[in-house]
Symmetry: C2
């Protein structure tokens, strides 16, 4: 029996977040960190910094946009960076691997821009194809941790002002049902499972200092299949980096899940 900390963090560029990220890693002592929006090609990823503090890194990079990575104290097996599905593989948004009998799948779902735009269509198609990817390659009986920036706030409680934000990106019914379909396949939203009524966001717009008014959304998730649910001890959003003024933080905060394995 060992405590295991797994984390999802949209860093909004790993180059500009390097210093703060490593300060945070020293504090947080997570065993696995799943990064989104690293915004670098693999050759520019700071492997040495991670290796120096004992992480093995698996990186699917891309310049300017997107980019995901898994950094783990224990090496992963069966790492995959491609799904052989056109929409999922179009950009660097998915990376996965196995840690013993547990699958980790780190996904940066598309933002979607505005309803009716090609990006919105792409977001919904991405969700649909991701469902297909799950169904074809995994079983709800597998131990899977699916985590990342889903770019959807599942319920009204997951946004700071559901009336103001009605029908804006991340809160629309077709987005919510796309994410709900993933959950219905066999995942549990660990945070909402443990804290049914807690208002806690993971992202706050840079504009207008939204974080100081706690005007945010919960769009970053750690989902687990049912076989893993008994192991979940806690889930929390770590505000330490997000509430700093310098070095400038990401607009997201990391979400950390404690499992007893």
């Amino acid at each position: 029996m060992a405590m295991f900390r797994v984390c999802t963090y949209n860093v909004n560029s790993i180059r500009s977040r390097r210093e703060l990220l490593f300060m945070w890693l020293e504090r947080s002592q997570v065993d696995v960190i799943c990064l989104q929006e690293t915004k670098v090609e693999e050759r520019a990823f700071p492997f040495p910094d991670f290796e120096k503090i004992g992480y093995h890194c698996y990186v699917k990079g891309q310049r300017t946009y997107n980019g995901v990575a898994i950094c783990s104290k224990l090496p992963l097996q069966d790492v995959f960076k491609d799904t052989s599905m056109d929409i999922l593989d179009k950009e660097s948004r998915i990376i996965g691997g196995r840690l013993g009998d547990i699958w980790l799948i780190n996904v940066y779902f598309p933002h979607g821009d505005l309803r009716g735009t090609p990006k919105f269509t792409y977001k919904l198609a991405f969700y649909q194809q991701f469902y297909q990817f799950l169904a074809e390659n995994f079983s709800p009986e597998d131990k899977i941790i699916l985590l990342g920036d889903m770019n959807v706030a599942l319920e009204d409680i997951d946004v700071y002002d559901p009336v103001l934000l009605r029908d804006t990106i991340g809160t629309m019914e077709e987005e919510r049902s796309a994410l709900r379909k993933i959950l219905e396949w066999g995942f549990v939203d660990t945070f909402r499972y443990l804290y049914p009524n807690k208002v806690q966001f993971t992202w706050w717009d840079y504009i207008g200092g939204a974080v100081w008014k706690d005007q945010g959304m919960r769009i970053d998730y750690i989902l687990v299949t049912k076989p893993l649910l008994p192991s979940v001890r806690d889930v929390y959003v770590d505000m330490w980096a997000r509430k700093r003024r310098s070095p400038k933080p990401s607009d997201h905060a990391p979400v950390v899940c404690l499992l007893e394995l």
Copy 2:
């Protein structure tokens, strides 16, 4: 009798140099600092930061390029930002004022790009018109401190490799004679006057880490008219900021002159 420190500093953007500049000001305790390449319009100049530590600021700003300022512990009189001469007033390159019976003239002379280009023509025309401005408005009997980035290395001793740099910008004969003409009007190059054989640069290219090999040029000057020469106690280039790696320094170092008045 009081010691008086006057300084010229091409900061290469006051916005990106703010933190380092104020660290330096605290150390250096200069009475007057003349800035070049502030690269901000007057409304974006950090007046409050200077006022907090007791400086009165006089600013001729411009967005993106150029921009000069004089910040002084004692208020200036007869501040001028225009010369009514077309070439001199085309960009924000000159600001002046009077401190008792001493005139301060802070100039950012044009860089000149390459011989034969319009910018090179502009540089020579600027020098020529500046000479005219001096002749028409001042006398060599006045107490004048003319300081700034002259973008000319007067002699071979003022560049790290005169052979390599022969006929490159800042070392060409027509540029040197343009600056020499200013001196001949009635100025003394305080640094060379006190240190006839000293090799000391004020600017080092960012490229190739030139500062670490001391591959630079002396292009920033503090010139004084003869009536002020007996007051000059020392002149030195302060490398403190330039040799730091962070916050990133300007490619120039400040030149400081001590006068006993």
